[in-house]
Symmetry: C2
Subunit: 198 residues, 2 copies
């Protein structure tokens, strides 16, 4: 089996705009064959979906989900390129899935870019002190902290969370697949979650 180098992954990313993990997986499945990997990404719609990610999204909908019992509610804004798509069932199903995800998994931000530098510093500080208190060797503490920070992102960032209705996929996967299906760029712009008494 051919070795998949970081250089190869980068080249494929540059050509297709697809994510690193998708490129790595496509190359592995194509046994290092570049053309096959691109074909594979295209078939999955991932290459074209990623290319759409730069396009302006000024249309969309505001969608709400109220959990049975009326003690928990979510409001989301999902953007797309045209009002035509905003009215489709596929788009609305995606909006509903996102709103229910927010209700169930309580993310704090949409993506890791939305986590403030102060918040990251505070998290790192906690993890560092934890590792020290647990008597971990100094030289591996940075690695432990990085690992815990990744876990923090996976739990707090909506796009990195496992999709509650299908935990094999992340919300980013769901988003990419929806873009591929609908054929327009889509963005989860913002969300808010009210729980009674919070």
């Amino acid at each position: 089996m051919a070795e998949i180098t970081a250089k190869m992954v980068k080249e494929l990313r540059d050509q297709t705009g697809a994510g690193m993990m998708n490129c790595k997986k496509a190359l592995a499945e194509a046994d290092g064959d570049f053309e096959k990997a691109i074909k594979h990404l295209r078939e999955q719609g991932i290459a074209s979906a990623a290319k759409k990610a730069g396009r302006t999204t000024s249309e969309g909908i505001i969608f709400s989900y109220i959990h049975p019992g009326d003690k928990l509610g979510v409001l989301v804004e999902i953007n797309c390129e045209t009002d035509f798509v905003a009215r489709t069932d596929d788009f609305r199903t995606f909006a509903k899935d996102v709103a229910m995800q927010v209700a169930a998994a309580d993310p704090k931000v949409v993506s890791r870019e939305d986590v403030s530098a102060e918040m990251i510093a505070a998290e790192r500080d906690v993890y560092q002190n934890q590792a020290k208190l647990e008597g971990k060797p100094e030289k591996i503490i940075d690695k432990i902290v990085d690992g815990k920070l990744e876990k923090f992102y996976a739990e707090s960032c909506l796009l990195e969370q496992a999709f509650v209705k299908d935990t094999d996929r992340t919300i980013t996967d769901l988003l990419t697949q929806t873009i591929a299906k609908i054929g327009e760029n889509i963005k989860i712009r913002r969300f808010i979650r009210f729980r009674l008494g919070d």
Copy 2:
């Protein structure tokens, strides 16, 4: 007609817990007769409603309103004392009225206590400069600024806004009347308003 003094108004407030304007009005209508004024407040349910205002509200509902077209949505948390009341139609009608009010009138905060000192200072500054630019005499500028600040509160604070479905009443009036009708303390805890692209 009897003169209504500030002292009389204060005494009636202390006894009933009703608001200053309500007490003043009740005294004027009762021609200064204290017992009549109390009776009047009781009949309107205002005295007892005000007395309920101190009671703990840890139940309630999260309610959403999505404006037709799905480009504007509101999420509100309305609190009451018991889950029993939270399930009543009267309570839900109030929650819906509040959510539609937020959608239509775009308040910034629930009450004037929620306006930050910085925001007030910034508003005062603008009004002061406006008045100076318009060449208003120095000695009346403070009065002009106070007047404009009251107008700002009436527009920005949900509780002070005119109720869009009946502009003769404020949202505070609607709240007080709903408390009187339902017989439990009610609080508008928070709201959020998403408009597409905002």
